[in-house]
Symmetry: C2
Subunit: 392 residues, 2 copies
C-alpha cells in the first residue's frame, strides 16, 4: 500500500483497527474498508507528537486559562491571517472541545427557542443539528442547478423572521467553495437583513488544486466562525477546535455565558499544545496531504464515473469527501450503501436526510483520506460488485 | 522546599508559573503564593505521562467512541467498585470533558426551567451554578451546629415541589464526609419523595486519615454521579471526568440527548488514556499524596488556630482545602482575603456568596496541595502579617 507520490508516512492499520471509531476501522468487520467518517487514516505530523512529548516531559498538567492557552489563540489567529484572508486578533479566539462542540455552543449562544434559522440543504449534520438543539426552526437554502449555493437561493430561503444563517464553508458534502466576492456578498446580505451569521469552517484547511479561502472571520461585521483541526491535521481524537467571535467583547461575553469562565467548557491543554504545533510547524505536512487528497479525488472520480448510474458532475474544490449522485441506479441511498457493504465490503455514508438533509437523497458520500492502495482496493471492489449492488 | 516525609516528586515551580492558571501560579504576582484553586502543585505520576508517551508513539489520534474508550469506562467502574463501595457496570460510565462539564450536563439533562432544586449552603460554586444554568430555582440545605449536613436539615429544605437534590460528597469546602449509613438514608429519603439525586464526587479520591467513602452510585436506585481526576490525580488540564448514570439505559439516553452520539460532547482520547493509567496504576502515588495532604492539613490547622479571630472547629475528613472561620476578626471575608494578599503575599479564596453560597460568609478557603516548604512559608507569612491584616 506504499504510495511514492506523497511524503506523509504510511498509516499503521493495526493501530487504526484499535483506535479509529465513529464508523471507521475499529467499528467495521475486519474485511470491510470504511470510506466513512471524515477523519484521515494518515498519521499525524511528527511535530505534533513531539510537542506533546515535550510538554509532558514537565509533568504538570494544571488548569489552563479559561479561553485557551495564549499560544493556541495566537496560532489560530495567525493561521487565519496567513491562509484565510482574515485579520483575526487572538482575543477573538476561544479554544473549544472540538469544532462540533463549538458550533453547538455558538448556536445556543445566539439562538432562542422558535428562532428561524436558514441552513443549506444538503449540509453536514451538525450545522442543522446545532440549530435544532438550540430550539430553532429551520428553513433551507437549496443549491442551484450547478450545485452551487448562490445569493438567489439565499434570498428565496430568508423570511422577515429569519434570525440567523448558518453555513458550511467550504461545503460538506458538496465540496464547493465560495470566492472572496461571494463571501462578501453573503455577509453583506446578512448585514442588510440584520441576520446573524455562523460559518462552520472546519474544512477550511482542506482546499484542493491550490485554492484559497476567504473566511467569514474577515468580513465586516464578522461572522461567528467555527474552526477545528480534525480534518486538516487529523487530530479528531484530541477534540480541539475554536470559536472565532466577531470581536473581542463578543468573545468575552460568549466565554462567560457558555461556562468557559467556570471550567464548565474548555479544551484540554495537551490538545491545545498539539494543535499549536500543527498550526505553527506543519505546513509541509499539510501541503503533502493536500496534494495526496487531490490525487485521491481525481482517481476516485475517474473510477466512479465508469459505473452505471453514477454521476459526479463537478469535482470538489475542497474537502476529502466525494458526494456521488447514485439516483440513476433507481435504488435508495441507504439500500445502495448497505448493498455496497454487503457485496463489495466497503462502507460508505448514505445521503440520508438524517445526516445531510432532504437534499442529500440519491447520493452516497465517500471519504478518500486513506492511502492510494486502500482507495484503489475499495474502488476495485466496488467496480467488481457493481452488477450485484445495482441488480433490480 | 524538599519534603522528605513523602515520596511524590518535587514540583517544578518554573513550569507551574508558566502553566498553572485558574487563580494559581501563572496568574499571581511573582512574590505571591497562591493557596487558591483546588489543583495540586505536585507533578502527576510517572505512569500517567508514560501512558501518554506510549499512546502517541503510534501517531494516530482518531475519533474515540462516543461515550469513551472501553478501557477508561472499565477503569472508572472498577475504581468505584474497589474504593467507593459501588458495583458500577462500565455501561453506566460516560467520559466527559471534565467533572465541571459533567455536572452541567447532568443538570441540563434532568432539570427544566423553574424546577426546584435543593443544594447545600455553603457548597462548591459549580453545584449551584449547574442547577442555575439549567433554569432551576434553588433552595438551601444548611449544615447543623456541628457543621454537618443531616437529614433534619434536608427535610427542612425540601418542599412538595422539589424536583432534585444536588450534593457535594465529600463536601467542598467543609471537608465533611457522610458515612455509608448516611448515604443510604439520604438516598432513601430522596426515593420516598420522588426526588432525583445528583452527587458531585469529584473529591472522592481525596480522603484523609484512611477514611472510606460510599458512593451514591452504589445505592438503589442509584444517583447521577459526577466524577473527575483533577483533585486526586492532579489532571485538571486534561479535562477528564465522567458521569455515572443510574443504569445503562439512562446512560444511553443521556449520551444521545446531550450530544455525545454526535461528537458534540466527549473527552479527548489522550486525556482518557492518561486517566486510565492513573486509575489502574497510580495507587501508590495517591497513597503518598493522601499522606502528604493529611500532614499538610494538620500543620495548617495547628498554625492557623494560633491566630487571633481564626476558628477551625473540625479538621476536614476529606479534600485538601481548609475552610477557616474568620468571622471573629470582624472583617469581611473579601476584605480579609485582599489584606492577606497585600500584607502576607499569599492569595486565598474568600468565602464569598458568589463562590460558595451565602453560608460561606465569614470564611476563607486555603488549598494545601503544595509542598511542605511552600505551605510553611505561606503560613509564616500570614502569621507575621496577621496584625496588619486584622487591624481595625
Amino acid at each position: 500500500m506504499h504510495d511514492p507520490s506523497h511524503t506523509n508516512p504510511e498509516p499503521d492499520f493495526a493501530a487504526l483497527r484499535e483506535r479509529a471509531f465513529n464508523l471507521r476501522w475499529a467499528t467495521v468487520a475486519p474485511d470491510v474498508i470504511p470510506l466513512t467518517a471524515a477523519c484521515p487514516d494518515l498519521p499525524v505530523a511528527r511535530a505534533v507528537t513531539d510537542a506533546i512529548a515535550h510538554y509532558i516531559a514537565k509533568p504538570h498538567l494544571c488548569y489552563g486559562p479559561a479561553c485557551g492557552l495564549p499560544a493556541f489563540r495566537e496560532a489560530v489567529a495567525q493561521h487565519f491571517a496567513r491562509e484565510k484572508s482574515a485579520a483575526v486578533d487572538a482575543a477573538r479566539v476561544i479554544a473549544t472541545n472540538s469544532a462540533a462542540s463549538a458550533i453547538a455552543l455558538v448556536a445556543r449562544h445566539l439562538l432562542r427557542a422558535g428562532d428561524e434559522v436558514v441552513v443549506q440543504d444538503p449540509v453536514d449534520f451538525l450545522v442543522a443539528e446545532s440549530a435544532r438543539r438550540a430550539g430553532a426552526t429551520l428553513r433551507f437554502w437549496k443549491p442551484d442547478a450547478n450545485g452551487r449555493f448562490t445569493l438567489d437561493g439565499l434570498r428565496a430561503a430568508v423570511t422577515p423572521n429569519t434570525r440567523a444563517l448558518s453555513v458550511c464553508h467550504p461545503h460538506n458534502p458538496l465540496g464547493t467553495l465560495w470566492s472572496a466576492e461571494e463571501v462578501a456578498e453573503i455577509a453583506g446580505f446578512a448585514r442588510e437583513r440584520g441576520i446573524a451569521l455562523i460559518s462552520d469552517e472546519v474544512w477550511s484547511d482542506v482546499l484542493l488544486d491550490g485554492a484559497r479561502l476567504a473566511s467569514f472571520a474577515g468580513v465586516s461585521p464578522a461572522a461567528w466562525v467555527v474552526y477545528g483541526l480534525s480534518k486538516g491535521y487529523a487530530l479528531a481524537g484530541l477534540r480541539i477546535g475554536a470559536v472565532i467571535a466577531p470581536d473581542a467583547r463578543a468573545a468575552e461575553e460568549f466565554a462567560a455565558a457558555q461556562g468557559f469562565d467556570h471550567t464548565i467548557e474548555g479544551a484540554a491543554t495537551v490538545s491545545q499544545i498539539a494543535a499549536t504545533a500543527a498550526l505553527d510547524h506543519c505546513g509541509a505536512w499539510r501541503a503533502n496531504f493536500l496534494a495526496h487528497c487531490t490525487a485521491q479525488r481525481d482517481r476516485a472520480i475517474a473510477h466512479l464515473r465508469t459505473l452505471d448510474g453514477v454521476r459526479i458532475e463537478r469535482a470538489p474544490q475542497a474537502t476529502f469527501v466525494l458526494f456521488a449522485d447514485i439516483s440513476r441506479t433507481g435504488i435508495a441511498e441507504d439500500v445502495l450503501a448497505a448493498r455496497i457493504e454487503q457485496h463489495a465490503r466497503v462502507r460508505v455514508v448514505p445521503g440520508s436526510p438524517r445526516w445531510f438533509g432532504a437534499g442529500a437523497a440519491g447520493h452516497v458520500r465517500l471519504s478518500l483520506a486513506t492511502t492510494r492502495g486502500v482507495l484503489d482496493e475499495a474502488l476495485a471492489r466496488i467496480e467488481r460488485a457493481w452488477p450485484a449492488v445495482t441488480a433490480r
